[in-house]
């Protein structure tokens, strides 16, 4: 079996997060693999629909939750549209896990601030669960999550679950005009909400994922709040094909996002050409 050949996985559940975002739960056909499969928070995979091709997403479930993996995607391209058509019981392909990961182990004893916009919560969700499953190892956990509208908030059940915990501070926000009558969260863009939330930067790390504009605007705010570039983690989403550091597509300057990333610190990002 060569490195490009996918594993087969059964779709065992699907959840519509929003009108255009769906989460699939996959279980490997190979039982041994189902038990042995391991990954780190932040790693990604190549998901395939046979006949349509492969697409790259992070593994959205937490490594601490065994036996299955999950991915969340928006149907925008050829493969994601095909993935949107699969049903529970169908077979898809998976290669991975690939890439580096969030150094969660290094965060022990620190506060962790999660900031996500839109579907950017998918890679962050994985880390959130990873951290919450080992809650006692970390200091304060703060989550700031925003989407265009209430309807666009993904992982709604989990947002509620996190909100109900006393050991998590969560702020959800929607863009002005995206609120509903019974919306109790904030109204405003992610960046000012982060500023207003003002998480403590001392002995803390920030995980920031979202559309490029959110990342771009929030980085200076984190800087202002006192977060060092080395303490800010994000992921790059360059187009990939192989995920293995061969096909050359995700290369930016000296890094191949698939091998050297997808997780980068803000400090690393500043060293890269702005080709992402």
């Amino acid at each position: 079996m060569n490195i490009y050949q996918p594993q087969l996985a059964l779709v065992t559940a699907l959840t519509d997060e929003t009108h255009d975002t769906r989460t699939l739960r996959l279980e490997f056909e190979d039982e041994a693999l189902r038990d042995s499969f391991d990954f780190h928070a932040g790693q990604f995979g190549e998901y395939s629909v046979f006949g349509a091709g492969e697409s790259t997403f992070c593994i959205a479930s937490a490594p601490t939750r065994k036996g299955f993996i999950e991915c969340s995607f928006k149907a925008v391209g050829k493969v994601t549209s095909a993935l949107r058509e699969v049903n529970v019981g169908d077979t898809v392909g998976f290669r991975g896990p690939y890439g580096n990961w969030f150094p969660v182990d290094e965060w022990k004893g620190k506060d962790v601030v999660f900031i996500a916009g839109g579907i950017g919560l998918a890679p962050v969700r994985c880390v959130i669960w990873n951290v919450l499953d080992r809650r006692e190892e970390f200091g304060d956990v703060t989550i700031v999550y925003g989407a265009r509208s209430v309807d666009d908030l993904v992982y709604k059940r989990e947002l509620e679950e996190w909100a109900s915990r006393s050991d998590v501070k969560i702020v959800t926000t929607v863009d002005p005009g995206g609120e509903t009558k019974d919306w109790t969260g904030e109204v405003g863009y992610v960046t000012p909400v982060v500023e207003a939330t003002a998480p403590m930067a001392q002995n803390a790390v920030a995980v920031l994922c979202g559309p490029p504009i959110v990342v771009k605007l929030t980085l200076p705010v984190l800087d202002k709040l006192g977060f060092a570039d080395e303490a800010i983690f994000t992921t790059l989403e360059n187009r990939m094909k192989c995920g293995l550091g061969k096909c050359g597509r995700c290369n930016i300057g000296p890094v191949y996002v698939c091998k050297d990333g997808p997780v980068f610190t803000a400090a690393q990002l500043k060293e890269l050409p702005a080709e992402f």
């Binding site: 060569n2 490009y4 050949q5 349509a52 061969k246 597509r249 091998k259 992402f276």
Partner: protein, 393 residues
Amino acid sequence: MTDATRETYFISDDDLRALAGDLLSAGTEVIAPVAVDVCASPSAIASSACLRPGVAPVDIEYRALADAAELDLSRGLPVLSLKQYFLPGHEALCCWRQHGTEVEIEAVPTTFAPRVVLAAKSCDSAALAIVDKVMNWDYQDELWNGRREATTIVNLACPVVDESCFCTAVGTAPDDVKGADALLTPVEGGYLMEATTDKGRVLMEAHGARFKAETDTHGAKHRGRQAAEERAAARARVAANLEIDAESVREWIDAHFEDPLLAALGVRCNGCGACSSVCPTCHCFDIVDEEEGIGKGTRRRCWDTCQAPTFTLHASGHNPRDDQHSRYRQRINHKFAIYPLKFGEVLCTGCGRCTRACHAGQDLVEILQAIDIAARRPDAAAAAVAGAEPAGS
């Protein structure tokens, strides 16, 4: 390669062809330069429709020989490099069959029948050794490796093709054996052949009758001198085309991403992938699924190029490299800075194919020259830059 006397053997022109014939009759695939009538076809059209009488346009191509007589030893440069035999233009990665919700995957074999490449160019064999690095970066590409292992490559010392050759500037040479297993050097009446790897020695031993050991005779000494002169002359010829300091070039590119010399290179570039297609080291690829009817198909990889806008285009419409300047810079950057940084080698063997293939006049020799001058003699850079970027800008 340095100790040319010990393992050097003489093989006559006829015996070299006979060697190809021996391999073919033993069922071994032999890939070698073949002079191809550019409009050759199985029909009679070639002579009447496609060719202008008296002018016989001939291309040299690496082909699997059907007959030893096809072997072309004129030492011209094949249109496409050897890359196609290791990373084919398209190849299957796996096949699938779908029955309802069930999918069955059929693996593609990764072991290959032994084959021999005769009369390869050093710029082509060296490219394989360079690309080996990325193909084995943590994950082993078995399809590439399988073909590499199954292939014995015999280089033929190159006389240097034209003014666009610059192999010595990027660390190889017309008579290099990098990536190859043996080297042929033309001498009076035939070739001197030396094996440089075990694979090469096995090949020569298996066909020992075709070779004569170069003992300490007058003739052997003469041939040895002849070969050395031939090789030295070729090196000198190519060195005259371009001389750069690859390390300075790498450092300069790394530090001058936004420099006009690098950032404005794309103006005359058409953004076609001809340079990548003909390049022996360009290895970027795409992966696509192709259905054959309903419920079965093949996942293939095929050549791709960083020069195409679609290479980096996101499904959202966002394109991190959305103009030709940035795409052309990526080509230079990847070859002369990124790859050396990651894998310790320049991703270029100086074959010059990209320059010859570009009829819009993108000239890598000129660009490297300009970068080298900028890197080593910043004061003189301005003058050299003039040719490489739009005049006056």
